[in-house]
Amino acid sequence: MSAKKAKKRNILITGISGNLGRILARRLHRDHKVIGVDMRPFKNGPKDITVHHADLRKKRCEDIFRRTRIDAVVHLGLLHNPLLRADEHHSFNIDGTMKVLDYCARYKVPKLVLLSAANIYGARPANPTYLTEDAPLKAGLQYPEIRDLIEVDMLAQSFFWKHSEIETVILRPVFIVGPNMKNAATRYLRLPVIPTLLGFNPMLQLIHEEDVLEAIVLALSEGAKGIFNIVGPGAVPLSEIISELGKKSVPVPHPLAYGIAKRLWRWKLLRLPASELDFVRYICMVDGSRANDILSFKPRYDLRDSIRSVLME
């Protein structure tokens, strides 16, 4: 897919005030007209970006589609915060996504890119080393908190089949790291001392935020559609990541670790449910060859630079 000087398009980004949304907007606004939707304020952004402070679920959001011709939607407006009430979380993610899909269909938006994630396959002992895009999304078996993110992915999948006239792209990147990222993976790796599970040292895949932006840009190019795992420069054991970051780890026997995490989570002292510990116990690695073959996606950051970017806040 050659990067022809594409014509200026109107690109709508949901969740533009998020960490990834902000850097994506900066990346796109020079070549395209960027329109944002978010309930959170969009601070210090470029002047030529219009941001609507609207809830995806409310009618105000539909007005944006009605008044402006939208050429592409990048749907980043998803919540990944297990601390929120489950019904609020579910409503924001599911109802919000359904509205976005609905507007795309009704206002004939030719391109939709959804940023899903590779962790929805789940870290499970019986996982083959590399999961391809057709592997079942089993993370919900471990912890129900992730189920609405699986459901969002599935909604987009069925949308893909129902609306063949719209180029729908679902991207499932591995753990995103980088100076702007504040997610479960970066928070874990930024701990002063990193707890690990004694006797477990799974291979992990990380990807630099800039490489994710590159994948989104490729997904926006004409003709691209389908589901793609987005993989960074390779995989290394957790212990190597920790020592590359110059940190110490504290190995905890896993029955004890799950017990402690369960209590801390119940008292809301931990942002993640205990079952997320499975991600540092079993592998959840994905095969990125489809994105390589079809989107010509290749990560630019190498393994060492991707890992080190965790600490470049």
Partner: protein, 289 residues
């Protein structure tokens, strides 16, 4: 490594002490062709450093406990291959000895890859050790991935049927699964038959109490009289292993052919392995030396 097989036990021990172990294994490991990343792991978590550390232990057992003789190492072709071996001895020492042999005496040395059961990743420490030594979870995707990366994959198509054999049925191959054949056809990999002589006698089993084993979630439970001898009997008998690597066989055809066609090919491999076992049994002097 050829000259050190001769001489008395003392000479052999001296060889081990005199020659820095690091150096021996660096030579072996330097010739591995597996592609490694910046941190010296391959895509599946294989690590030559870990292999080197474990190889010391494995090599001592190989040389001085089972005194393995390896024949036909040169038959292993370069690049991808599926090694098909008989499976025996109640615990899978045979796999470790074949792998150790081809790493120590292979020309060039090869690190075989093999598959483990699905519950192995749930075990602490073991779950880390296995991938570092080149073992991956037994899934078709993994086998395909390894062969596409030009690795040599060791499989035991008899599975537990083979390893749990009773003494009465020693050296009679159990039924072969056919997955390996479809895999070899799909990836266009040659099949290398392997016969292990000796392992059948390391833990003679009078009966396989499958039903009782199933109660504990195990595929079988062998009745091993030697376990009644405290401590000493708990180790496998110090039988002599003889490993024969046969000439590679290439099969052509559709990996998705009907069972009957695939089973014909599987039968050919099974017969070849059985022939090699019979030959190996005929030419061995004694179980223990």
């Amino acid at each position: 490594m050829a000259d050190e097989g001769s001489g008395s036990i003392l000479d052999k021990l001296r060889y081990w002490w005199d020659t820095p172990i690091e150096k021996i294994f660096d030579k072996q490991l330097a010739s591995l062709t597996t592609e490694l990343n910046d941190y010296n792991y391959d895509d599946f978590g294989f690590s030559p450093e870990w292999v080197k550390r474990s190889l010391l232990f494995a090599a001592l057992i190989y040389r001085y406990y089972f005194r393995v003789e390896l024949y036909g190492a040169a038959n292993l072709p370069q690049g991808r291959a599926v090694l098909v071996s008989n499976h025996s001895g109640q615990i899978p020492i045979d796999g470790a000895m074949i792998s150790t042999g081809l790493l120590l005496e292979g020309d060039p040395p090869r690190a075989l890859r093999s598959m483990v059961e699905r519950w192995v990743p749930t075990l602490p420490f073991v779950s880390e050790l296995m991938p570092r030594l080149g073992q991956v979870l037994g899934a078709p995707e993994n086998a395909r991935g390894l062969l596409e990366r030009e690795e040599a994959l060791l499989v035991f198509p008899e599975g537990v049927r083979g390893i749990n054999k009773t003494f009465k049925k020693r050296y009679q191959l159990a039924e072969f699964g056919s997955g390996f054949m479809r895999l070899a056809l799909e990836t266009n990999a040659p099949i290398v038959p392997v016969a292990v002589i000796g392992a059948e006698e390391q833990f003679p089993s009078l009966a396989n109490m499958t039903k009782i084993g199933k109660l504990f979630g195990a595929p079988g439970l062998p009745l091993l009289p030697q376990l009644l001898v405290p401590v000493l009997g708990w180790a496998p008998l110090p039988v002599k292993y003889r490993i024969h690597i046969g000439e590679a066989i290439r099969f052509t055809g559709d990996a998705n052919d009907e069972d009957i066609i695939i089973e014909e090919k599987v039968k050919a491999v099974r017969e070849r392995v059985q022939q090699m076992i019979n030959y190996g049994l005929g030419s061995r002097r004694n179980i223990f030396w």
